[in-house]
Symmetry: C2
Subunit: 330 residues, 2 copies
């Protein structure tokens, strides 16, 4: 049996047992965007890590080293944002093949430092090693949050409004353009894929309001990530096709090349916007809080007691959608 036979999440379930050795002071272990453990008082330390592997997560010929540096840190910041936390301290491991030169690495770190500075994150060390063939980057990021503000995947309740903090699908369309080697004037889509912007500000606003019930970032795709919330919260969801926020560039791309907009916006991922749920009576407050600080809020559906994900399409009919999204082993 191979890893691809059970998938990443199957594998996590497989290795989960025995991982928590000492549960005192651990607030959340495996199974959320970050692990959480208390230090003291009301501030908890968050810790997350993400590995980016050449030919799996990126192609050296398409992403610039500057963008790769930004993205390596951004995807980790997005995990901290998804808990409502503030990213603080990062350590970076990099395995470098002989074919990658110093100019590349300089640009890589320039990119990383640029986004670190934007979010006031320290790069505090790491590990640099050689690699026999492929470039591999790993970032471990520590963040902090007030214990009573942290938002988990497991807190959703039946009847919650499901919301997004930004449009989805652009990154997927950008990847589609790269994989199909399409000639397009539209650079925004490829840039959405190469240089995602973590919604740390949105996460902090949502967490400090203390009205939302659950939160996650859209890394695997709206369907897969919403499914994480549903599974952890033991409920289901109905989302509406016409409420899924997308950009004009995305819609134009899908129309021009006859691509399935629902597939790209719901089942591919790497949007790194936040996806959450909030009780209906608090929706207006949360929307106003976000919009008053130049952030976005898009309601896309409701949580329901029946398990599973459903999509209400434009003609009003309801269809069951799978939870499929990005899984490296499937």
């Amino acid at each position: 049996m191979k890893l691809k036979d059970i998938g990443e999440f199957g594998f996590i379930e497989r290795i989960r047992k025995g991982c928590l050795i000492r549960d005192k002071s651990v607030i959340r272990g495996i199974g959320d965007d970050c692990c959480v453990f208390s230090t003291s008082g009301e501030i908890a330390t968050l810790l997350t890590t993400d590995m980016l592997v050449e030919k799996i997560h990126f192609l050296l010929g398409t992403i610039s080293p500057y963008q790769l540096g930004r993205k390596s840190l951004a995807v980790n910041m997005s995990d901290i944002a998804a808990m409502g936390g503030t990213p603080r301290e990062a350590v970076i491991s990099i395995a470098v093949p002989d074919t990658v030169d110093l100019a590349f690495l300089d640009d890589f770190y320039e990119g990383m430092k640029s986004i670190a500075e934007e979010f006031e994150v320290n790069l505090l060390g790491g590990d640099t090693t050689s690699s026999p063939e492929h470039l591999v980057v790993n970032v471990a990021l520590v963040g902090e949050a007030r214990v009573d503000e942290i938002l988990y995947r497991s807190g959703a309740e039946v009847g919650d409004v499901i919301f997004l903090t930004g449009p989805v699908g652009s990154s997927a369309a950008g990847l589609d353009i790269l994989l199909k080697k399409r000639e397009v004037d539209e650079e925004d889509l490829v840039e959405a894929h190469h240089d995602p912007y973590p919604h740390v500000k949105e996460g902090r606003i949502i967490a400090s309001m203390k009205v939302a019930n659950s939160l996650i970032d859209v890394s695997d795709g709206v369907a897969a990530d919403l499914n994480h919330i549903c599974t952890e919260s033991k409920l289901g969801a109905v989302i509406e096709e016409e409420m899924i926020p997308t950009t004009e560039a995305f819609r134009a791309y899908c129309k021009r090349f006859n691509e399935d907009a629902n597939h790209l916006s719901l089942h591919v991922g790497e949007d790194y916007v936040l996806l959450g749920t909030v009780p209906a009576q608090a929706e207006a407050d949360l929307r106003e809080a976000l919009r008053s600080q130049d952030c976005e809020f898009y309601p896309i559906g409701r949580t329901v007691s029946d398990a599973g994900l459903k999509l209400q399409v434009r003609d009003g009919s309801i269809k069951v959608i799978g939870a499929s999204g990005w899984d490296h082993f499937k």
Copy 2:
């Protein structure tokens, strides 16, 4: 110019600038075994990360998956030990090629959990992804320490006694056996290379005594790691050949195959014992504290004001030794 032209430490110096965005609360950034940042009160959080790459750090045909799991965590624990800290919470990233099966991964995590349990470390999550060809493991480990107990590379003073907490060279001899495909009955040496034991207990005893001036773990080799202490503390060192602790198995191996014992014990590394300095008047107290708790203490020389590393060989003459040790890019 390539990374190998400037080496790992040259590269760190190159990227160091601009990494510290917000220096409030940062106690130590790039350049030591761990970064240190305060949380609150007298307890600081330590964070370290190490990446192990197939064909660079290990060969799948020689190390068992169980040992690889243990070693991946052990080398990070050793970094926490080298600050006098206690390892606490770990996150593990792993990039898995299609050729590695689940049984391998199960054994890998069993090994990791075994050493995690021995040291009461939680495995709190991570990232699992595929890899185009080589297995890559990254561990990020958070530890804790009292701020007034943490030991740095930079604290050595002239006249300090230089000490080791265990024998050196066995791991290098084990690697030598593997690389030269030698048939030997002696399994201890290969095991020293494949299953190093982090000196967390020793680090805690040394730190809590508050008498030592500096501490590092021997990962790159005694010469290279002592050179880190000397450079950071702005002094030099004279060590004595006949005082370098080695095992009987190591000495027998060198004799049988006519290998250079000084090269293997001083210039290869991966011993993961601790190397430190203590004022002469406190040497006896530290030695007794360690030995009374079944730990070892070996004085090997003195720090001096003249820069550079010198070795007093058995005939009494002094020779200058280079700081060379393990560097992936040289």
